[in-house]
Symmetry: C2
Subunit: 213 residues, 2 copies
């Protein structure tokens, strides 16, 4: 193995269980984490999700109720909500095409590529398309976890919430979005976090990796 700052960051981070409500993440660090999410690669460059950055205490209190009362949602200073497109539509893919044309010029291959994408995606069931969009949000989630660690910001990825309720709280349905995963940002309360002193657990390489040479 080579020296790797990333590996150090992955060892430093953990799913923080107790955040210190008195410590807020500085805006410039939040901006960097958001920028990493914006730069995350996605299938065909569609970026089929949006990000909600919630600081409002009342709304976070409501989301916390819809998420098994997990305290990090309000003890952290920022709550990131990844919300995927509920379906691929012609309008959405056309907007991606337009963005590509603006940046790269009006190349025939761009139109042909996204026309082909439309003919693949649009006939599919909305559930299939949503599942595909949600996976792309998970690429960005992985990168966000690294970004937070690089900024020495603690974070807790959360799937344990009622997506229908969170969609309602944030009025996502009207925007054609569905909540996928939550990521509170904050700072660990080192004296009160039961998980912090515990050993990190990962499978050994030999049970996870097969080499086919």
């Amino acid at each position: 193995m080579t020296d790797s700052t990333l590996i150090d960051q992955l060892n430093w981070r953990y799913a923080t269980k107790k955040m210190d409500p008195a410590k807020a993440v500085p805006q410039d660090k939040v901006d960097t984490i958001v920028e990493a999410i914006r730069m995350a690669p996605t299938s065909s460059g569609t970026q089929p999700f949006e990000l909600l950055v919630v600081t409002n205490p009342e709304i976070r209190a409501e989301i916390r109720k819809a998420a098994g009362d997990q305290a990090q949602i309000s003890d952290g200073s920022h709550l990131l909500v990844f919300a995927a497109w509920d379906d691929y539509t012609a309008e959405r893919i056309d907007a991606v095409t337009d963005l590509n044309v603006q940046a790269r010029g009006d190349l025939p291959m761009l139109k042909a590529y996204y026309d082909n994408l439309k003919s693949n995606y649009l006939p599919r069931d909305a559930g299939v398309n949503y599942a595909h969009a949600a996976r792309q949000a998970y690429i960005a989630l992985g990168i966000a976890l690294v970004a937070a660690a690089e900024q020495e910001v603690d974070s807790t990825p959360m799937e344990g919430f009622d997506p229908a309720k969170v969609d309602e709280i944030l009025d996502l349905k009207a925007r054609g979005l569905r909540s996928v995963v939550l990521l509170p940002l904050g700072y660990r309360d080192a004296s009160a976090d039961w998980l912090l002193p515990m050993e990190k657990v990962r499978k050994p390489l030999e049970t996870m990796v097969t080499r086919i040479g």
Copy 2:
């Protein structure tokens, strides 16, 4: 925004279209990328996927045929295949529990936690469980893309392949695995890659991010 090596890495990387078949990624760099995947966080620490590192040229040629003849699969030196569990089973979750007990001690809360997980996961449809496992592999994919960029290794995430054929080529079904996403590793052929000189395209922040303060 703060200074961020990660943002620089995300700007450096791109979905490489033409790799130089004469240049192999050194083993110590591959090992670091694999270690980043091993350290990727996953839901309840289940790590519900395996990684296949394929260098064998004949097998990569077969996979290439099942993936629309995308040349990076054989022009790169290593092909990573992320293969998710086809279902959650009692045996698999028990193995995770055992690993936790080994590292953290025989704590009653560990058994209770994973017993609860079993009672949630085991009654569910295999397709639902696979979809959940596949999302976890996408967290690791996002982190692998960062790891490759940190090592200045090029990579190309690929969803465009026939999963049933790849499962057959790698005999994954017998192992209870399903191929999710491919990631060839190699080095760009800068003179022959049509994508390299093109502008990177990402949505502007204001169309992607909503702040709720």
